[in-house]
Amino acid sequence: MIRALILAVLIYLALIAQEFLPAVPLLGGSHVLVVPLLFVYAALWLPFPGILGFALYTGLLSDLTFLHATGDQVEIGLGWSMLFYVFLGTALRLLQPLAPGGRWEIHCLASGLATSLLLLVQYLMVCLRRESFLLDGTILWQVFGPGLAALMLAPPAYFFLRLFPGRPWSQPDRPGLTS
């Protein structure tokens, strides 16, 4: 419970902090996104109702942060990120039995994939809205660059989050099975 509360606070703080992280020239000028990797950690660790709650919470905050209003129109409406995180959380839930409480390798890979998938979905929706599709090296960097950054940041984040008290929902209360 304590770790869940800490995660909820961290997700909000990460959304604020992301705005102050400069674009990384080495990753084609793409931004570092921390929120998806925090959500992935929660999704590998919480029971299913908790995952859904976290998905709605993370999605709502993300949408409110990135809502792009131009005149009378909103490009990606409130609710799309909630849907994305609900389905992502459901998919990650299927990984829980493989590694109770998650393993750092799974968290690392899932964070990278989830970050890039989120950006890819966003980009496709932007293209749909603007009725034209462009694809070049810069756009690929903007999709996969943050995913690479998440791959690198995920292991330290994983071990940092494990410092907080709390037992993963799917981890049996028996010695010798902790990861």
Partner: protein, 268 residues
Amino acid sequence: MSRLHLILLAAAVAIAVAFLGLSSATMTWWQSRFLDVSTPALQAGSAISGKISKLNQGLKTLDELEAENATLAAQNNELKATRQLSGNLEDENRRLRAALDYRDRSPFQLLPAQILSRDASSWWSTAKINRGFGEKVDAQQPVLTAEGLVGRTTTVAKDLSIVLLLTDENCRVAARVEGTNEQGIVSGRRVAGNSSPELVLNFLNRDANIQPGMKVFTAGVSGAVFPAGIPLGTVKEFRTRELDGQAILEPAVDFSRLEDVFVVLGTK
């Protein structure tokens, strides 16, 4: 997956879909309230980020000095660092004086504002400023600097507003090219990818005589958000397309160093 889980999943999807059904105005209202709640955190983040940035700049300069003056004594290094610090203060002083001068001679009623943060998303170019409806800022108001147009406000909270930057593909501005009758629409590119993005001026005549170095200003079309005569950029390149001509512009404003801006509240 148990039946209960399926019901919970359906409920979560239903909640998300319910949010999707909200009108744009309602979504913007929610965002405005969220910004109200987040303003203290954003201001604190901006202050911390500014301090870290200045610290980094100072350290970098010291490193450079150290490399150049490896043989100099410690006292010499200290003196150079002190001189550098006062130089930074002079730069800041000069920048603020220039901003103040611009406000005095501008025909517009300007509200000074500071950039708090830049959007972390990949697909949109926006920034947050530390002024909101508490200081009579409204949506769709132009934002500029002494150098040129920065963008326009979109969502406005009490002490904070979001500015859609000129470098965003959705920020379209009617423009005219200096010394010609050519008019077109300036906008950003879909993805900038670096800190000094280019602008594009579309819908020009294919046979327009446009040369690199020509200045581009807002056209000030009737009923438009932006008044006429605000610098937008300088032509870098002109190319003809199937139906029209397109100019690539270097923005008048250096978007990588955006700190102090003005919101246009009206004319004097």
